[in-house]
Amino acid sequence: MTAARKAGRLALLGLVAVSLATAPAAGQDGAAVYGKYCSQCHGDNGDGQGVAAPYLKPWPRDFTAGKYKIRSTPTGGLPTDADLHMVIREGLPYTAMPAFPNLSDAELDAVVQVIQGFSPDFEDPEAQIPPIAIPDPPQWTEERAERGLQVYGETGCGRCHGDVGRGDGMSAPTLTDDWGQPIRVADLTMPWTFRGGGTRRDIFRTMSTGFNGTPMPGFHGALPEEDIWAIVDYIASLSGNTVDEPYQNLVRSVPRAGGLELEKADELFAEAPKAMFRVVGQVVQPGRHFQPSIYAIGLQAVHNRRDIAFRVSWHDMRAETTGVSGPDLEAPSWGDVLTALGVGRGPGGGSGDEGDGGDIWGGAAEESSDPWGDAVADDGGSGDDVWGDAVADDAGGGDDVWGDAVADEGSDDIWGQAETSAPEGPTGPRAEFADAVALQFPLQNPSGVRLPYFLLGDSENGVQLWFADLAAGQPRLYSANGSDKVVPGDAEPPEMIASYDQGEWSVVFKSPRRVPGSGLEFADDAFVPLALTVWDGFMRDRGNRRGLTPWYYVHVEPIDRPSPVGPMVKAGVGVLAIELLLIGLVRFAARRKRNAAESA
């Protein structure tokens, strides 16, 4: 780096350096570290308005507010130095905040000083609340987990996190943080996504201290410690005490005697192992989707001699069963997304109030003033929009519907009615875009290693989509030779059945193993490439605005598996015969030699 460039860079960091007058020695280093690693998101002034901020969900922390989620101090307290060190060292899972294992302890100290310097709170001695002691976790027990379920219910955790912890509570779609930004409720079945960490110790800390600036309260003092541990053990039980990502790259289709009856899906897939695949945003082509709401998707498969059935399941905060869906719908263009993102607008602005197309969740250039990007914001005159009406009643026609809706208990009633009037499942209000899912397979079994391009194929290698329209409850078949060449398929689509229960969609497809109208066959012992796409109507996903996976495989386990006994016996006897021959020859030679010696 030349001296001139160094000088230019330091000048850029000037703003940061200003706040470091108290610690000039550490400040220089801290400012450099902050400038290189932090300011792109958190902003030169620590206000969370860096260049990347508009693309991120959740938004980067606004350090000037002094409100921190991950702490060891009680609700409202500031994080300790150790808390900030931990967050920087380990990062926040499933957010854009990475781990920084590369920083030295000195650099870490220095950058923590810079961060604290952005908020005057850190200089206020009265704001320094001592941390809560986090005890060593007791051994996980079944009994405590069972009691935890009870405490979970009594404490009302399910109102946001859902009755079985899938992040689908009634309030979930309405929650915002102190900056007016919509925030997602944690899916308690996936501890590897927990911002504060997924170990039982981490969960105890999060439960005790809460997340400042969000609706997540701290229960230290409000619940006895043993009750908090009970809830912790219940939450741990939801993932089978799994803390790390359980993702796979293969699903095994297991043989099943008899017919594959879609109506008995639970029984049908009882023996089928569930592979979890990570879902990522479609960021490769126009319609880019930076933070898809679905983290992971589960896949199971069974087959008999004639048919194969797949069950796709994923957690969704709310079922959108109205509106349109399809892989061929037009997604917002890149330019529109950029305009809608309003690059340069700060997170402090509260996009929900501004109504200037700050549709960050939705990422669309539509007129929505709704921070979730849900279509409900266009409720202007549509009287039959359940959600629109509900919001209008709640908020008295005010613009700031989300805050009121959260505070107003009345919203629960609306949900209650919506649920009873829609016995099919707790579906959301009328949405513009419906939830949908699709399985992607090649048009024919690949002959070599070459597969179709994982994003809907290419001109030479096409793909087929088994698409589930969850508004109509109907399957559709598409074929595609690239994102811009998606056409309805000619053949009969596979059979499909779908259900939504307690925050989980479950969609079952069934097709003959020799797929009609295509060159694809799920032959015995074959590895068939497959990819998944999921659209969340709540997030206005449609077309190429979607969550997806790259190519994975399904292995069709042979129905008639050859017994290993025959080949085992053959191998054993063969080896034994060679051994005996060898021993015999050596002994024969040795005897001859001895005889020769004796006779001599």
Binding site: R5, K36, A52, Y247, V283, V284, P550, V575, E579
Partner: protein
């Protein structure tokens, strides 16, 4: 190299010089020490098939060493013959004679019941680039093309710094979801992608490539890869759809600056 494994193995082989064991023990010790070193002694494991190949060569070499000398051959042959012939070894011989076929049968069983592995594709990570590419109507001869803004580093540091800042903006608006904040390939989506995003901190990536190569990979993305690069599976977008040529050259400047590395220079052309 895992010194915890390699050093004890060296110690064993050195120790053999002082202990002077019997020839057959010496043989077995050498064979085993080399095997353990190859199999467990490397931080990045050597593939099992390659280890097998190496051990085949080792076996041949040791055999040649024995065969080359009549006395050594005798030292090996005599105990072996004794084991196969003499009455006092009879029980041990019978045990071995049974054990080996059983092991063979177990191996067959393991092979037939092993969990099936999906087909894998050994993609070429840095395939050869084409002679030239056209981006937004401009032809770039990749063999001779240099970053048009690289020279500003010496001639106009202020503008160079501006370009770095623009590259930084481009990176954090577009690239870090996959390649990560630290450019170590550990972005938010990394665990959901196959192949995983490139780690620019690895000296085997951008530090050994020319800027024109990066420009080709960035502008044309996965769809522009030759077959050996697996264009169907990489999630690298063709950034020419989203970024101007200038933005792509700027982000390349930023990649090298952030990772404190230098691009490989254009080789002299006659």
């Amino acid at each position: 190299m895992k010194l915890v494994v390699v050093l004890p193995m060296l110690a064993v082989l050195l120790g053999l010089r002082f202990v002077k064991p019997r020839m057959i023990v010496w043989l077995a010790a050498w064979w085993a020490a080399i095997f353990v070193t190859l199999r467990f002694g490397f931080a990045t494991p050597i593939p099992v098939s390659v280890v097998k190949l190496y051990m085949g060569i080792v076996t041949l070499a040791l055999t040649a060493y024995i065969l080359a000398d009549r006395e050594r051959m005798r030292q090996v042959r005599e105990p072996l013959t004794a084991f196969l012939v003499e009455q006092r070894y009879q029980p041990a011989l019978m045990a071995v004679a049974v054990l080996i076929p059983v092991l063979a049968a177990v191996q067959v069983w393991a092979g037939m019941t092993a969990e099936a592995q999906p087909p894998s594709f050994a993609r070429t990570v840095h395939p050869a680039p084409p002679d030239s590419i056209t981006v937004h109507g401009t032809d770039y001869p990749l063999g001779t093309q240099d970053n048009p803004y690289r020279s500003l580093e010496g001639t106009n540091p202020a503008e160079f710094e501006e370009r770095l800042q623009d590259g930084r903006r481009v990176y954090y608006e577009n690239c870090f979801y996959c390649h990560g904040d630290l450019m170590a390939g550990q972005g938010l989506y990394a665990s959901g992608l196959n192949p995983i995003p490139t780690n620019f901190q690895d000296p085997g990536t951008i530090a050994m490539l020319r800027e024109a190569f990066l420009f080709w990979r960035i502008s044309k993305g996965a769809p522009g890869l030759p077959e050996e690069g697996g264009p169907w599976q990489s999630a690298m977008p063709a950034w020419e759809k989203f970024l101007s040529d200038e933005e792509m050259w700027n982000v390349i400047l930023f990649l090298y600056d952030f990772t404190d590395s230098r691009p490989r220079a254009v080789e002299a052309h006659s």
